[in-house]
């Protein structure tokens, strides 16, 4: 405390936002009558330059040591006025704001009652301001490196940008290769460039970049620390292939006794692989991996006399003794780019996915039309679950569908499956797939059932128009059922434009499934304590102004893990996240929250409730000597603390207090605001 409080009060009109409802002169006069208030003013826009100058002048002329601004929410202008105090030579934490806009003028109509409320809110701010303390905003060094979780297009782009800027990048990918979902796609809308052709060069760049350490088939196990100083623990899963020796020749995969018998995840189960495999030819790294759940030798302990792969590998790269490896390193920032799952079409049983062979998800169809897919890009009728026929019988060529029907919004905009949101890509990828069908089988009849077509992006509407001109039939209606009649599938729907119920016969149905949060989302949430929005995607710090930040400093989001988006949007967000992550790394130092919690170690009983509750893992129990006795007490890491106050509320002995929200600052407020 620097002497007796001398408080300056500033009541903002905010144009007519506040002054239109609240009698600001009356509030100012009331403020002037309060004890310790030296000066009270009202002004049209306190946040403007002249408004702020009023404050700095008064600090000089009246020797103010506390400032109360009654205006908008502190979310809006607290940083502004803190800077004002600082430039006036006062500690910025001697500021208190009374929110008389969002919490008063905007929500009330009666001017008399609103003015009374504004006075109360202001008085509460004044009594709190009396007991405010000066706080010091500390700085910590930032490790010039970044962890990127997820090696899809978003993770790849962010990694390349940051590495090109000269910072170290650790890119951790769960599956054996980077590339993510984009690597599975054939063409991209609306320009129809080949997905692999634009992606794989970037994948190779990642592998060759001197600043990128790529860890595939790896998982983040634990992250502790805070912005600038995160400690990361990564588990590199055993792939049973020596990465240094494997040349990627592929002899092992051909030799594997299970070759062609295990559904390949990369081909969405339409294509097959062996127990030792490369997900797809351009995989990065181009190193083979043994899947230990299926490998006969690893799962059953026996694979003939000697495992075939080991027999044929000339490099001697197969190593069944390999163990998981734990790697630890430090980073300054983290980008989460974990991507998505596609909606599980089994949750819409009326569409018969999983029952009828030729009801496909769009991602399966994507593999079917893909030149590097299991059919070499030929669209053929599927016979799932049938054992491979002997060679001579195989001569019978698979049938080509004469009609293909797409159903949009499967698992999107559908409250019955809990997904209210639009997945933003399905309309356009459906149009793209329809175009590809027309391209490959010109006489194939293509029908699309839709609710609305959302063609909002650059070149989208033009593309949609082009596809319709190619003879693709759009029917507005949400099908109710798919069943089999003879060797045809029947889609039952209503054409809602003509109010005609119809039964549409077709050979193949493609379900345009939406994008959903990854089923293993929780792993990352538990490690990083991220929040989720109501759609269960990761929550950004602000929907408009901080779309790549999270509530935790130094942790950023990129790509679909934050919400459905197409490739250009994912890339744009990745570049945004990369530049956001580079700001603290380039500065080399970051300011940390000053309104942190502080523990009274004399009264703390060491129960540890706060330790478990802290969403930022900022509190730990440490042993201290209390008058000769070893006791455990909580201790706050001030660099980690974000000042959320959860610990303060949980502490039964009242031993944790949050700076600027201490009991002696809040209780007078409650007294003023309480019933008189």
């Amino acid at each position: 405390m620097n002497g007796k409080p001398k408080i300056g009060v500033y009541v903002c009109h905010c144009g007519t936002n506040i002054a239109g409802t609240v009698n600001v002169e009356e509030v100012r006069d009331f403020a002037a009558s309060l004890p310790d208030v030296v000066v009270a003013r009202n002004y049209s826009y306190m946040c403007s330059d002249p408004g702020q100058a009023l404050i700095t002048e008064d600090i000089k002329n009246y020797g103010l040591n506390r400032v109360v601004v009654a205006s908008c929410s502190p979310r809006m202008h607290e940083p502004t006025f803190r800077k004002t105090l600082e430039s006036g030579g006062l500690n910025p934490f001697y500021l208190e704001m009374a929110n008389i806009r969002e919490q008063c003028s905007w929500v009330h109509e009666d001017p008399i009652a609103a003015t009374e409320k504004a006075k109360r809110l202001l008085e509460a701010a004044v009594v709190k301001a009396r007991n405010l303390e000066a706080l010091e905003q500390k700085e910590v060094d930032v490790e010039p490196s970044c962890l990127i979780i997820g090696g899809g297009i978003a993770g790849i782009q962010a990694a390349l940008d940051i590495a090109d800027a000269g910072f170290k990048v650790y890119l951790v990918e769960k599956s054996p290769t980077i590339g993510g979902h984009m690597a599975q796609l054939d063409k991209t809308f609306p320009t129809l460039d080949c997905s692999a052709c634009i992606l794989t060069p970037k994948m190779v760049d990642v592998a060759n970049h001197p600043n990128i350490e790529l860890m595939t088939y790896s998982q983040v196990e634990e992250i502790t620390g805070y912005i600038g100083n995160f400690n990361v623990k990564v588990r590199k899963k055993a792939r049973f292939v020596d990465m240094d020796k494997c040349t990627g020749c592929g002899d092992c995969a051909e030799a594997c006794r299970l070759a062609g018998r295990i559904p390949n995840e990369f081909d969405e189960g339409i294509g097959m692989r062996g127990a030792i495999y490369l997900p797809f030819p351009q995989a990065v790294p181009a190193k083979y991996t043994i899947d230990k759940e299926n490998c006969l030798f690893l799962a059953k302990g026996k694979c003939g006399e000697t495992p075939k792969c080991q027999e044929v590998c000339q490099a001697g790269a197969i190593n069944f003794e390999q163990q998981d490896e734990i790697v630890e390193f430090k980073v300054g920032t983290i980008i989460v780019a974990t991507g998505y799952d596609v909606f599980d079409a089994r949750k819409k049983p009326e569409y018969g996915y999983g029952i009828y062979d030729n009801v496909l998800t769009a991602l399966e169809f994507e593999r079917l039309v893909n030149a590097s897919g299991p059919t070499g890009g030929k669209i053929v009728m599927l016979e799932r679950g049938k054992k491979k026929k002997k060679k001579e019988e195989e001569a019978e060529a698979p049938k080509v569908p004469k009609s293909i029907t797409f159903i949009q919004c499967v698992g999107s905009r559908d409250k019955s499956v809990g997904n209210e949101y639009c997945s933003r890509v399905c309309c356009m990828y459906t149009a793209k797939l329809a175009h590809l069908v027309k391209d490959k089988i010109p006489d194939c009849e293509v029908t699309i059932f839709y609710m609305d077509v959302r063609a909002f992006g650059k070149g989208f509407e033009e593309f949609y128009d082009r596809v319709r001109r190619e003879g693709v039939r759009y029917i507005r209606g949400n099908p109710s059922e798919i069943f089999r009649r003879g060797d045809k599938l029947v889609v039952k729907a209503e054409d809602t434009l003509t109010a005609t119920p119809l039964e549409h016969e077709t050979d193949m149905v493609v379900l345009s499934v939406g994008l959903v949060p990854r089923s293993d989302n929780r792993e990352i949430i538990d490690i990083l304590k991220l929040s989720q929005s109501s759609d269960l995607f990761y929550l950004e710090a602000h929907p408009k102004l901080r779309p790549v930040d999270t509530a935790s400093d130094g942790i950023f989001l990129a790509g679909v893990c934050q919400g459905p988006k197409d490739i250009p949007d994912a890339v744009a967000q990745a570049k945004g996240a990369a530049s956001a992550a580079m700001i603290p790394m380039a500065k080399g130092k970051v300011k940390v929250e000053a309104q942190t919690s502080v523990v009274n170690e004399e009264t703390c009983r060491g129960c540890g409730f706060c330790v478990e509750l802290c969403p930022f893992t900022a509190i730990e129990l440490v042993e201290v000597n209390r008058q000769g006795w070893p006791v455990k007490v909580a201790r706050v890491n001030e660099a980690l603390c974000k000042g959320c106050g959860a610990c303060v509320a949980a502490c039964l002995s009242g031993s944790i207090q949050q700076r600027s929200f201490k009991d002696n600052q809040l209780l007078p407020q409650i007294k003023v605001l309480g019933v008189k």
Binding site: R605, G606, L621, Q627, D663
Partner: protein, 327 residues
């Protein structure tokens, strides 16, 4: 029933151990049937120890209540174990205290008493008001046998049994190092009918009821002091800056105190009933505690002091925790 000679023999062995500093048990009280806590430091003192249905106190309280005096310079703190006798209900206090890091498991040595029920001293008092000389209570089958002034009275168990024992689900201690007798199978269940009766009243009725109870409170803080879960070094009730609750005894401050007390025990009270037992003005504190206990169990499927390795309620969180009670 616990055999007293076995109890004393066990106690003698334990207090003779190098690594045990103190043994907390029961001894006969100064008058009537009452028993009181005994603090034993020396093998010579064990012959005063008893256990009978008058041993109502929850001794777990004394582990955390003990004041840790400053250790003189040049001396080491005495970190030897404290041995404590606990009934089934009392043992839950130990479990909860350890869940809250009050001390490590190896700091205590638990002498478990499988318990068949204790008396409610108020009920005994009402029945035999003027017994000042020494008296003895024991349980024989389904009768309490009271011997005093050369008389022997047999009273059906139900009539003198403490209310908490009538719904006891844990007669055998949940944590112990030595068990003094065979395990006792649970003989009662808890249907919360008393809490439901309270819940069914209107808001006005409830307020009138509690207003009358709280207005009696003299703020002696006995309930807090005896509670095994109230062991902060510095209770917020005692603080002056800031002063959460004024010291005046009036309905406003009394109510604030009782609300704070009850809420500080939410998810922590293990229903030993000591608070209500010691209340000199007979405020039914367990009704508040049991209401919160029931709510916690229903909302979070959580019971304090039952599982040794379960994290405390206040520090465990699940994304699907119910929150519809939040306004």
């Amino acid at each position: 029933m616990v055999d007293v000679s076995k109890l004393r023999e066990t106690a003698r062995e334990i207090i003779s151990r190098e690594d045990v500093r103190e043994l907390i048990g029961y001894r006969a009280g100064t008058y009537g049937f009452r028993a009181r806590p005994a603090f034993v430091y020396d093998p010579g003192e064990v012959d005063q120890l008893i256990f009978n249905p008058a041993c109502v106190n929850n001794l777990a309280t004394y582990i955390t209540l003990e004041e840790k005096l400053p250790v003189p310079r040049g001396q080491e703190p005495d970190l030897r174990k404290v041995a404590v006798m606990v009934k089934g209900c009392d043992s839950r206090a130990l479990v909860q205290q350890m869940a809250e890091n009050a001390y490590e498991r190896d700091r205590i040595l638990v002498i478990g008493i499988p318990c068949t029920g204790v008396v409610d001293m108020d009920k005994v008092q009402a029945r035999f008001p003027d017994v000042l000389g020494p008296g003895e209570i024991s349980l024989e089958g389904d009768k309490f046998v009271l011997i005093f002034d050369g008389r022997r009275e047999e009273i059906p168990k139900e009539e003198l049994l403490a209310d908490k024992c009538k719904r006891c689900r844990f007669p055998t201690p949940l944590v112990y190092d030595v068990l003094l007798d065979e395990e006792v199978a649970p003989f009662a269940t808890d249907d919360y009918s008393d809490v439901e009766a309270l819940e069914s009243r209107s808001q006005d009725e409830k307020w009138a009821y509690w207003e009358e109870k709280f207005s009696r409170c003299i703020r002696c803080y006995s309930c807090r002091n005896v509670c095994p879960m109230c062991y902060c070094n510095d209770c917020i009730l005692d603080r002056l800056r800031p002063q959460w609750i004024r010291r005046s005894v009036d309905i406003s401050e009394n109510t604030a105190f009782h609300i704070a007390r009850a809420y500080h025990l939410a998810g922590r009270c293990i229903q030993c009933g000591e608070c209500q037992r010691v209340c000199p003005v007979e405020i039914p504190l367990m009704e508040l505690n049991r209401k919160l206990y029931k709510d916690v169990e229903e909302l979070y499927d959580f019971e304090p002091g039952v599982k040794v390795d379960a994290p405390p309620l206040l520090s465990s969180y699940r994304p699907d925790d119910p929150e519809d009670f939040i306004l």
